[in-house]
Amino acid sequence: MKKYRALFRIRFLNALQYRAAAVAGMATQFAWGFMEIFAFAAFYRTNQAAFPMTFPQTVSYIWMQQAFLALFMMWFWENDIADAVVSGGVAYEMVRPLDLYSRWFCQIAANRLARALLRCAPILVVAFLVPEPYRMSLPPNLSQLFLFLLSTALSLGVVVSFSLLMYISLFFMLSPMGVRIIVAVFSDFLAGAIIPLPFFPESLRALVELLPFAAMQNMPLRIYSGHIAGAAAWQGIALQVFWLAALLPAGRLAMRRALKKVIVQGG
């Protein structure tokens, strides 16, 4: 375990040093967050009752999403891993006494956590200070906050294990672009990154809420905003546990198969 902790640590430290990227990222997230909230506000003005989530819930959903973007978004791309597979640098990873799957899991989780921690504070501060009704609210009670934290951790697990499947698929492909674009577009749409899942049409929503994408940001953000609570929240967490338990062994299996027929590209 110690070696994975060490890996986590160095990745974490490494990710903390990109200050300019963090500032740029925060600026984007402020802009995006305000834009999205204003757009929703315009819709809500026509008829408050016509929407599945209350306006304060939607506002909290969007602010938390922007604050912890790095934890949740599938389009975050781990260049080191993709490069290692595509250019053959993976050879060096394989001469280490490490399980490659665990190693990459650590690396991605550490990167996402470090980026999120570096960026979340200013966004949270602003989100709590802007005037009503655009201000973010606290979760309804402490137990809801606890459920949110639990769900966030699981969500990170699902995001990382899902993205690992994507990186493993690169062993069978020459260019990462196709996988990257398709996965980013579909998964972020289906995870509720563009509009929250409750806004989906009823028939589609019933299906989408069972997919692994629903076990990503959808759960923690809706729990935080109070849109799902109590038994429903636990049910959501159960879905996350289910998908994590399915994705981890699937990824390990895929990795084993990939490594068995690995070809180190570029000599």
Partner: protein, 324 residues
């Protein structure tokens, strides 16, 4: 101790001819060509040996190294490194080996070298005191003290290669695999590198397996050479053996004052300038000392140097002979 027996490895490579039409055709049906990277490769290397593994590009050198490192799984054949099959017991196996791929980097680009080293320490579970000793030794020998705190991205290629070598030895591996380690290094760095490896081998008994295109690496380092071509081991022997295989002839470079001497049977003139000539001697006809005596009898010799065929010439001749 390393034993390879009947190792075969085939890659499937997609092929198509140039041109748009061919590219479109390849969308629907692809032609594959089987590349036999290794065909029935067998050899044995003892503990503490230094072995040079040579062959032209694409001969299968790197593939063999990668199999011995546990990265690639061969199609058939057995490989035993210190009692383990690398690709079956990869994690246990890689604890005992160090690897340097000259064309890739194992250092973290954006963090100081020492951070990379400490990460390796934790990955290989090297004990703190042991690690410090190893690091001190490597720092002194490879002159790293100035650059340990610099990020890898800010180092020159030569500095980075010194760090790469140190990184591969921090856990004191029994076997060291060097895949084209001197590629792109300047003359001083190459010499320092060779001295270091030699010392390491002598003091720690580290087995060294080296692939290179630089014959001076081979000359300076390895007692034994494996020649591979088209996926087969063609020759296995010492540098002297291989040279003998190619040609036993010696080259005399003679500087003289006076008349140009005539040559006897067994001597052939390769080049002649004013006061200087290059003569090739076939030792099966005429011994080198006899040749010198005969030259000296005819004129006043100022300087004579004797050399065999150079390693570069030898390799070129071998590649030609085996059509690889």
């Amino acid at each position: 101790m390393i034993t390879l027996q009947h190792i075969c490895k085939t890659f499937r490579v997609a092929k198509r001819r140039a041109g748009f039409g061919q590219a479109v055709k390849a969308l629907f049906s692809r032609e594959y060509e089987l590349v036999h990277a290794l065909q029935d490769v067998s050899f044995h290397i003892d503990d503490g040996e230094m072995v040079g593994y040579i062959g032209p590009n694409g001969a299968g050198k790197s593939t063999t190294i990668k199999i011995m490192c546990g990265i690639l799984t061969p199609d058939s054949g057995e490989c035993d490194v210190d009692g383990r099959t690398p690709w079956r017991e990869r994690v246990a196996h890689v604890h005992e080996i160090g690897v340097v791929f000259g064309q890739r980097s194992q250092l973290w680009w954006d963090v100081p070298i020492i951070d990379s080293f400490e990460l390796l320490r934790d990955i290989y579970k090297v004990e703190k005191r042991q690690f410090q000793n190893n690091l001190d030794e490597l720092t002194a020998l490879l002159d790293l003290s100035e650059i340990l705190k610099t990020p890898a991205r800010s180092l020159s290629h030569g500095q980075r290669m010194r760090c790469e070598i140190a990184a591969s030895l921090l856990h004191k591996p029994r076997t060291l695999f060097l895949d084209e380690p001197t590629i792109g290094l300047d003359a001083t760095a190459k010499i320092a590198f060779r001295q270091f490896i030699k010392k390491r081998n002598a003091e720690h008994g580290t087995t060294v397996i080296l692939t290179t295109h630089d014959m001076q690496d081979i000359e300076a380092l390895t007692g034994r050479i494996l020649l591979i071509g088209n996926g087969r081991i063609l020759l296995d022997g010492s540098l002297a053996d291989l040279k003998k295989h190619v040609s036993e002839s010696k080259t005399l470079i003679v500087e003289y004052a006076g008349v140009q001497p005539d040559l006897d049977e067994g001597m052939r003139l390769s080049e002649a300038n004013e006061g200087r000539m290059i003569v090739t001697v076939d030792p099966s006809v005429l011994s080198v000392s006899d040749a010198i005596i005969r030259l000296a009898a005819q004129t006043e010799l100022l300087d004579v140097s004797v050399s065999g065929v150079s390693s570069e010439e030898m390799v070129a001749a071998l590649y030609k002979e085996y059509r690889i």
